[in-house]
Symmetry: C2
Subunit: 154 residues, 2 copies
């Protein structure tokens, strides 16, 4: 939970790829999340899932995004993130129960924030893949990261 081990804006190497970690959503987790936030039949019931374009029970897109956040939160490759500005997501394949998902991030651009010069704006491409190497989430995001305090200043 502490960001004390995390990297500053200055530490980010554009073009570098990192693996952030893995998570396996269970059937219970998929259904519990959907019941609370996105109670569509194909996220709650196997038969309804089979009748849907996903062809089986699948996780909500909200859950899929939240899983990427959960994996990131446990990563050893964390940044001193300060705010999510915006993102694009695509969901090429469905998230199935009991399939391990792996999260990968590649930094594509960074610049100092013009409105908040103590932060940088970082752009990255994130892919979350299942065990068969199918992308279940492709995300481009822009977020704020703390800049390293200058020596002697605060």
């Amino acid at each position: 939970m502490s960001a004390s081990q995390a990297d500053y804006f200055e530490d980010i190497e554009i073009g570098r790829s990192v693996e952030n970690g893995r998570h396996t959503p269970t059937r219970d987790e998929i259904i519990a999340f959907a019941r609370q936030w996105d109670p569509q039949p194909f996220h709650l019931d196997e038969a309804a899932g089979r009748a849907s374009p996903m062809g089986g029970l699948s996780a909500s897109s909200c859950h899929t995004y939240s899983i990427s956040s959960l994996i990131y939160s446990r990563s050893e490759e964390k940044l001193k993130t300060a705010a999510m500005l915006g993102l694009e997501m695509r969901f090429p394949s469905a998230v199935r129960p009991d399939e391990e998902l792996a999260l990968f991030e590649r930094f594509t651009a960074k610049r100092v924030s013009s409105s908040r010069p103590q932060y940088g704006v970082v752009s990255s491409e994130t892919v979350m893949e299942n065990e068969r190497g199918e992308a279940v989430l492709i995300m481009r995001s822009n977020y704020l990261v703390e800049r390293r305090p200058t020596p002697g200043g605060r």
Copy 2:
């Protein structure tokens, strides 16, 4: 939870705006969601929130997206949605504890799916606003909606 009252692809009027409903996330809800899915200090603790660019405790972007889904799930303006294909989100203002959020959706385009002709692809712009009329979420999304079964066919 049932989609039986929901509209088909054919019922969607491009350009029409609907209000989907409202939800007020409490402080406990914001912290509980963040603890589970996005445990960054500024989503968990008021002092850490004040020190962040958001200037106070704020909901995770995953939670913000999930709230939009929750409001939609309770709406009387539902469609026979079948899958989320992709979306863009921006978070212009922070989601604060105990502020009521209202969700509005405007349909911008629709077409029959070429790969799945029993579904249509619908594009919409969604805005979620707080009590001061500030947008906390601006979303453009593309999703599948069931087409009305043809008479005599299935």
